[in-house]
Amino acid sequence: MASAFEGTPSSRFFVIKTRDYKSLTLSRTAALWRTPLRPGAPAQTQPHERIAAAYLSASVDHVFLLASVNGSRAFQGFARVMSPASAEFEQHGLAGFDASGSARYSSPFRVAWRVLLDAHRGLPHDLTRHILNAIDGRPVPEAHGCSELSPDAGIAVCRMLLEAAAAAATTAPSRPCFYAADSAELAAADEPADIGAQWSGLLARAALEGAVLCASNLGSRAYNLHHALSDVDMLVLVAAPPHKLLPLDGPLTTIRNHESFKPDFTLHEAGSFVHHLLAGDPKMLEALFAGDAAPQLFTFDDANATAAATIAGDGDGDGDGDGDDAIEEHDRSQVVVFSSDAWRALVRHRARFCSKESVRRYVREIHGAKGVRKVDSFRTKLLQLCAAMRAALEQYRDDDEDANDDGRRRKRREFVALMNEMRDIRVHVGKRWYILFRLCLQAQQLLDHGSLCTWFPSRSIERRFVTELRQFDAMSKIDDAHVHELARPDFERLCRSELDRSTEYAASHFDAMLARLEHTVSDLESRLPSSSLPEMPSAEPALGWLRTLRSEQCADTIASFAAKREQELHAAYAAATALTAPRLALVQSMFESVLCHGERLLWLAQPSANNDTADGTAPLVGVYCQSAEELLRYNAPERPKLERANEVRSLASDGRECIAHTG
């Protein structure tokens, strides 16, 4: 990439947005970009037309596009426009562009990428918020897709991107696997076989954020409910150092990979983890029970041993499960990849975090938008597809498809698309049922035994039941070419068989499953009030654990803060001794307040001599810094908001902003 920047005040700058980072890498490879079409908008206001007009204008030096991936809260790079949009570039290909979206796009136009940062190393919007777009007076990060930036704003952002690219080039560590998201390594690393590399990559990344406390699998691999193609969900817990906990914009809490990237990982800071744990978040609870066998689950009895062994994957089918038990034990031991002494200290208290709130949260998740409601919407969609298929088959019976080979291919392609869509939905619904019943089983464990089932033994009835719900996972898509070779009666039979299966699935199977689920959930809900579980997790062990963790890791910071505080209070008090008696008493009262809260007093003034109060003292104003120890003790992710601060300020006119401390 060229490092020289050719932007001038006569250049024009447009912001481009994309749903995924992959579109940017595709664009760089193809040296093309395309903008979404705006339905109903006049031709001259379509984004690609505005860009083309700017490009062709004699008074414009260059046209630049500043790219930002939706949801990334960052700019990833910028490109220079090298041509207006033209249909002739269609053939050069941008296959896979915005694969996750459904927008219609203009013809492509040529671009030359000047900077394209790694996906995870974009220029954060927070760093560009001070740059105002003179066109609308708003901060640059608030610009919408295809909106124009003023040249000074555009140049400023481009320069920052160039600096970020230069810094990345000199400081980029040799990062393994998926962190080099812009490369073929990404795809390779996503293979299940490469899990070791993925873990080492994530742990290297996590170490940049703090001391790793624990690293554990999440999702199906943690529950022993995965299959060969299941993705890898990773959880890492770190204890961040003071400089990541005390910044103005709040402490490090949680980092997740962008949804476009695999594998899925979640990195929690210890304070954030404790916050979620004490709110009853089942995911946090599951992390504390990760890798635990669940003896409370039912295993197959002897009479069912053969069936059990078959389902559990005992190849010889003799039901003895010889080698498989050892393999399973090995797999189970791999769920927790790393655990520190500090983490194990928290795990010892895990039973005290089991609460009714976690059960309620499981139930809420089952009922929620991604639960039963989602399954219901899938069923509606499946029924619609069945109706469309049925109508199409009726029509097809009367057609003379063989008259025209192209026509026949086209018609059959439409059927194949419908059938594949129905299969997709069955896969999705199957996976959803599997998740919902797994949630039910875990809530049941929590309620019945006051502990969590995280590992479903291969020979347990529960596992067999749950994995059977995923039977459609292995279902492949219908091949277009293969269907074309079928004789007409065979093709019709295939279509009808798919239709029958989907209709049956959407009707009777769905109702049966839903009835079963609802029965289980209502049983859970009815037993919940009489359960011996506490309402909420016990806070004391978690907060005590966090306090110990912080005091060990941040001892130097706490000591430096305390030393400064003492020094400043002495100096301030010495300065105040010259004041008259009533005012000195006021200052003393202020000092007591600051001392009592363990804070630093940074500034003390008497801003106006005109507002003396009735007893002859003037109002004082001070500025303080909250106690570092207090800030480090418990970092709840909720931060005070500006609105809230404004609200407090509005109260100031009532006199309530004045501190009242009686010591």
Binding site: P247, T557, S593, Y634, P640, I659
Partner: protein, 157 residues
């Protein structure tokens, strides 16, 4: 205080004497700074003779911030502020106190590019005559304050 930090502290217990001072938390002060609200600007431009005591850390911040906040948002803030004062003449004395005048003077000098010692009575006219195009849009005050807050909290400054 923890996460319940607010611009000022407002404890439950209160007595008449204690009501006579206000404490500002630096985190909220820093967050309000980009908006250049009058109260925050007043803190920043309090004349030296009214300061009873200041830490080295605060002096460091004020020195770095004063030139940075003089920009267009300040102009807008002052305009709003003066408009408000014009509507309610009784409040003018409170609004145009000594610290605020000082800030206005500094602002006017920055805008005019030269020294000026205007009389308070002419503040409104002078203010309206400022050529805002000569002022920067906005300096990155947060860029300066955020590291400062971190250093103060870590006891490094």
């Amino acid at each position: 205080m923890g996460v319940n930090a607010s611009l000022t502290r407002d404890d439950d217990a209160c007595d008449a004497r204690a009501r006579q001072y206000t404490l500002y938390d630096i985190a909220t002060f820093a967050k309000l700074l980009p908006k250049r609200t009058p109260s925050v600007l007043k803190l920043l431009f309090t004349p030296d003779e009214q300061v009873l005591w200041q830490s080295a850390a605060w002096a460091h911040l004020v020195h770095a911030l004063r030139p940075r906040v003089l920009c267009r948002p300040v102009h807008e803030t002052i305009a709003r502020f003066l408009a408000q004062a014009a509507k309610r003449p009784a409040n003018q004395a409170a609004v145009l106190d000594r610290g605020f005048e000082l800030m206005l003077d500094a602002f006017h000098e920055a805008a005019a590019g030269g020294a000026a010692s205007p009389a308070p009575l002419n503040i409104v006219q002078r203010h309206l005559a400022i050529d805002t195009a000569r002022l920067p849009h906005s300096e990155l005050v947060v860029d300066c304050v955020a590291p400062w807050v971190l250093q103060v909290r870590c006891g490094e400054l």
